[in-house]
Amino acid sequence: MQSDPQPDAVLVSAPPEVTLVFSEPVTPAGAGIKVYGPSGAPAAGRVTSTGAVLKAQLTATEQGTYIVSWQVLAADTHPSRGVFAFAVGRESPNPFASLLDAGSAGTATPLGLALQVIARWVHFIGFALTFGVVADSLAIRPHQAFRRLIVAGVVMLAAAEPLALLAQLASLSFDGDTAVAVLGSNFGRLVGLRLGVALLAWTFLALPRLWPMLALGALDAVLDGAGAHGVPGWPLAGQALVAVHVGAIGLWVGGLVAFVTAPDRRFGRSAAATLGVAVGTGLALAIVHTEAGAALVSSDYGRAVILKVLVVGLAIGLAALGRRRWELAVAAGAIGVAALVGALPPAF
């Protein structure tokens, strides 16, 4: 992110506006840009956004330090915010200076990150229970007990969305304006579409056949891909990989749950196939997002990827030993780590 005025600049005269230039298109969340003058009075006027550029008109009549606080949503719905200061004439105290300590620009707050991970975990488990169990009952065998699992999955799919909204707000700010801006953005559309999938899944439960549910699962995987990190230079590649990855994990974990509920020998082969696809796409994602492994140790994202590889490796080991219950428990953990990987900004 670049700004004009630059952070900590001391200017001779007040600029007419504050301009922020991001690396990708953004939409303002809530006010978008707030500026506080040396006396603490708001100094920002109308905020306009065009593509990756966010501007606020400025009425700076006082001499001294101005604090600029901004919050935006990226095209992939990830929230970010930041605070910096500049001065007109001379530096001075500012009642909002404490905002500067609030953390580095461009990352979610710890609470926001935690909530995001929980929301994603609930969503992925719901996805596995709904579509994975349906696929298993269509491909291998139906069973009475599966219905309850599927209903629980649908409930989790729906419950994940309010959690995701809370997570966005925790990373930005808890106020009505921000909530409305977040819901009115790309993120709001994705929440709406994912809730639509959950409701349709509930509707499809009343159908005489289960296969329409599979089409819905594919749609949901595509939506999950749409909310994922892009790969620079490869439009849609990151999104497509995530969609396949999510689908494969859902089939694997859903199949595991079905197996643990009602064992059937035919599960082994389908588990090997789905887990293979999940591991393959997962490794591809890890490679492109860590600069071919260079950022594995140096970034939070890379370290989370290492953890994910270890946990998945443990799950594969347990699968080889035939300890399906333990495999399921570790798989649920692996989904948690995957949720963390998805919520962290990639190294590239």
């Binding site: 559309r189 709406g192 409701l199 349709l200 509930w202 509707t203 009343a206 159908l207 005489p208």
Partner: protein, 427 residues
């Protein structure tokens, strides 16, 4: 030459009566500005009258059905037409707000409430066994057609000659229908010694006696004890919310927010009206052939998806918006024939009209609720995306509700490919 079955005469007369009464549904939107100009009443005063009118229009249904059971189709229809004409004529000499509340709100509201969906349901239910859905579709479309016919003409008249002329024209149109109704409309097939159209047995349904008001509440009690009543009422609530309430009230301002000129935006609603007539007739035809639950499932499901995708449509090529409008128009009140049919199947020939009256009241309640809620969203937050998308989600919910109607226990529903041939109507 084979004689035309008298049921078709009854259907035609009812169609004309509904057409004549439709002018009154179109009038309030035309009167707002002239009344403001002449009396200096503010928008709030006029809105109160319109709200009273809408509430009574919705709530009158079950009582109208009970009145028709007790006193017959003909007397109730003639009474209603005379009432609304008198109410409209009297407005031309009013001079204070309470008179507007009484005349437009109470008198015309109650009168039009008797000429609403319940009349169509009762006529189709009593006179038709075969083709019942088609007749329901045609009678439901009459209201929409009437508004399309009256709205531009009345608007022009109110602008050039004054609102009193518009009021007189609708009153005269309603009065002109009275002799036709009085002469041709018959209560039941058995009054003429014939059977309902396509019926194999004679009509032997006993007439409901006792107080119509008590009967209306008896119908409500019967309804609320049934799970299917809540499923039908809930889905119809959502239907009203997503048509009249959301699109009817807010499509024009939302389109203008996105840079569409007002005339073009207003013509969107007219396009919806035209396709509404086609869609409702088609829906009636389909209701005679397929399971009503499947029809409703597709209507609500597709409507929900189109609402969810609407925020993606605004600001993109106009073609997509027009496609949305055409589709939405087809789906507008297409839900009425299958809903009436389901109500009849669940609650039986004798009682369904009153119960359907209550279900229709839920429709109007939904329209009023969302019209207000979406307006509030717009006022406070300056964006309709939340309102459109949450209405879309509600429609998907309705799609799930209707599939669960008339199902004995949870589990997979068994829906026959084609609608079961109904038992003879009044056996």
């Amino acid at each position: 030459m084979k004689r035309v079955h008298y049921a078709w005469v009854v259907a035609a007369v009812t169609f004309v009566a509904l057409l004549g009464a439709a002018g009154f549904r179109a009038t309030p939107s035309i009167l707002i500005v002239p009344l403001q100009n002449e009396f200096g009443w503010n928008r709030a005063i006029i809105s109160i009258a319109v709200s009273i009118n809408l509430i009574l229009f919705g709530l009158m249904g079950p009582f109208a059905a009970a009145l028709m059971d007790r006193f017959g189709l003909r007397s109730v229809t003639v009474g209603a037409l005379i009432t609304i004409s008198a109410g409209a004529l009297a407005t031309t000499v009013m001079n204070s707000p309470w008179q507007l509340y009484l005349l437009w709100g109470v008198v015309v509201g109650m009168g039009t409430g008797c000429m609403a969906s319940v009349l169509a349901a009762t006529v189709a239910g009593r006179w038709f066994v075969q083709r019942r859905g088609l007749v329901l579709g045609a009678l439901t479309a009459a209201g929409a057609t009437g508004q399309l016919i009256f709205l531009p003409g009345l608007g022009y008249l109110a602008q050039t000659a004054g609102w009193r002329y518009a009021a007189v024209v609708v009153a005269v149109a309603a009065l002109a229908v009275v002799p036709i109704v009085a002469f041709f409309l018959r209560n039941r097939p058995s009054d003429l010694g014939i059977r309902a159209y396509g019926a194999t047995e004679a009509d032997s349904m006993p007439t409901n006696t006792g107080s119509p008001i008590l009967n209306a509440f008896r119908g409500l009690r019967m309804g609320v004890r049934s799970r299917d009543f809540w499923l039908l009422g809930g889905s119809f609530f959502i239907c009203g919310a997503s048509t009249n309430g959301l699109i009817g009230t807010h499509l024009i301002p939302a389109s203008m927010d996105h840079g569409m000129p007002e005339v073009a935006a207003a013509s969107l609603l007219a396009v919806i009206g035209v396709f509404d007539v086609i869609g409702t007739l088609a829906s009636g035809y389909l209701t005679d052939r397929f399971d009503s639950r499947w029809l409703l499932f597709f209507y609500y499901g597709l409507r929900g998806l189109s609402l969810l995708l609407l925020p993606f449509v605004f600001g993109s090529p106009q073609f997509a918006l027009i496609l949305f409008i055409v589709f939405y128009g087809l789906d507008w009140v297409a839900t009425v024939p299958p809903t009436v049919q389901l109500a009849r199947r669940v609650f039986g020939a004798q009682n369904f009209a009153i119960v359907y009256g209550w279900i229709f009241a839920a429709h109007q309640l939904g329209a009023a609720t969302i019209a207000f809620a979406a307006g509030a969203v717009r006022t406070f937050f300056g964006d309709y995306q939340i309102a459109f998308m949450s209405s879309g989600l509600l429609c998907l919910l309705a799609a799930g509700l209707v599939l669960r109607i008339a199902r004995e226990r949870p589990g997979r529903v068994e829906i026959p490919e084609r609608a079961r041939v109904e038992a003879p109507a009044y056996s």
